[in-house]
């Protein structure tokens, strides 16, 4: 069916059917967004596609992806949910570094006076399903394998499990994780061999190992003491740089190593 709008059509532009003209907001400047595309039904290999997108300094990279999907190419696939750095679904590689697309501001990326190019690729080390969507199952499998839930033996207490502020402080940093996978997919050891538990799983094990209310520290330490555990970490700090929650990931891994080394939690 022809999408041409007949001259008799008296509806305003926004109400007419068919593709809407892409809006260009006032004060915006064009930015090239270079996106790694892959459609498993047609492509053997991923390839790059560049889109010209009008960007405001107040935009985030996620807005540019929305713009591409909503106005330029509806086939673009990416994940996002909260759009405010809370859910952890939109970790992507932006200009080669793992970031949440919803937390990177354009004003920090616009090059003064020249054309800005922003590259967006899926996070590395997990199988790409389509465009920016990767299969997160291996990541969650490692997460589940460290038993990231409270383990307590004996009778259930009849009141709240009390904890001192000092005890709470010990694992405060690692409670902040939103499981975005930015850390694990920035780790060269994980890229090379996906059997390594990866920083995120260790962070979530740390959250319970150092919790005074939990009694499963030994089980988790045993798991992380094995071939695919903490000893594979080479302290490259990529994970700490990548974490959008500012978690000291490498430090958490070192604390687990220390607990194993000195048999003391």
């Amino acid at each position: 069916m022809s999408r041409a709008v007949s001259s008799e059509d008296t509806r305003s532009e926004a109400e007419r059917p068919g593709p809407k003209p892409a809006p260009v907001p006032e004060g915006s400047r064009p930015v090239s967004v270079k996106i790694q595309r892959f459609n498993p039904e047609f492509d053997d290999e991923p390839h790059w596609e560049t889109f010209e997108v009008p960007a405001l300094p107040t935009d985030r990279v996620l807005n540019l992806l929305h713009y591409v999907k909503w106005y330029l190419d509806g086939t673009l696939a990416f994940r996002r949910s909260c759009a405010h750095g809370v859910c952890g679904s939109d970790a992507v590689q932006i200009n080669g570094i793992n970031r949440l697309a919803c937390k990177v501001l354009l004003k920090d990326m616009l090059a003064a006076g020249k054309q800005t190019t922003i590259t967006v690729a899926p996070i590395k080390g997990l199988p790409v399903q389509k465009d920016l969507c990767v299969d997160m199952e291996p990541f969650f499998e490692a997460f589940k394998a460290v038993k990231p839930y409270l383990i307590a033996y004996g009778n259930e207490p009849s009141r709240e499990r009390i904890q001192s502020p000092a005890d709470r402080e010990r694992f405060d940093d690692t409670t902040k994780c939103i499981l975005c996978a930015a850390c694990t997919t920035s780790c060269p050891v994980y890229w090379a061999d996906g059997s390594y538990f990866g920083p995120a799983a260790i962070v979530n094990a740390h959250r319970f190992i150092f919790d005074s209310r939990d009694q499963g520290a030994e089980e988790r330490l045993d798991i992380l003491n094995d071939v695919d555990g903490v000893w594979r970490c080479r302290t490259t700090f990529n994970c700490t740089d990548a974490c959008p929650r500012g978690i000291q990931v490498t430090k958490a891994i070192q604390e687990v190593k220390r607990a194993l080394l000195f048999k003391r939690v």
Binding site: E141, A152, N225, D226, L261
Partner: protein
């Protein structure tokens, strides 16, 4: 209560084998740190004596080596340098093989080559240090 917590264990049954409760990786990690520090001293000392002290390489000849190896101290120095460097290097390459070998067979054969070469070099080196005869004619 305890049955309930059992039911929670391993949701969706992870594909990973159970932990082997072995401290091998821990010990190899500690060994890398300690041998690394020792090697810095041993190797830098060795390089200094061989290349800088008293005219450096130009004074090294059969008699020089024979003279050093007549002392148990230098024998011990060279022996520990040989063993530590070999074990440290082998363990490092083992880690790299674990990281980058994709197939189990590749990994297996690379490690066989690695361990054989290590055993050979350590054996030959140790043999020479202990059985070195300063009286063979040096041409």
């Amino acid at each position: 209560m305890s049955t309930e917590s059992m039911a929670l264990d391993k949701p969706r049954s992870p594909r990973r084998p159970a932990a082997r409760r072995s401290n091998f990786e821990l010990h190899s990690w500690v060994f890398m740190r300690i041998s690394g520090v020792l090697l810095v001293i041993l190797v830098l000392g060795h390089l200094f004596i061989m290349n800088i002290l008293d005219g450096g390489v130009h004074r090294i000849n059969f008699a020089f080596v024979a003279g050093r190896w007549s002392s148990p101290f230098w024998q011990f120095w060279d022996l520990s340098m040989l063993w530590l460097a070999q074990l440290h290097g082998t363990n490092g390459v083992r880690t790299i093989i674990n990281d980058y070998a994709r197939k189990d067979t590749t990994r297996f054969w690379l490690k066989i080559v690695l361990y054989t070469s290590m055993v050979l070099i350590v054996a030959v080196g140790t043999f020479v240090i202990f059985t070195f005869d300063p009286n063979i004619p040096a041409d």
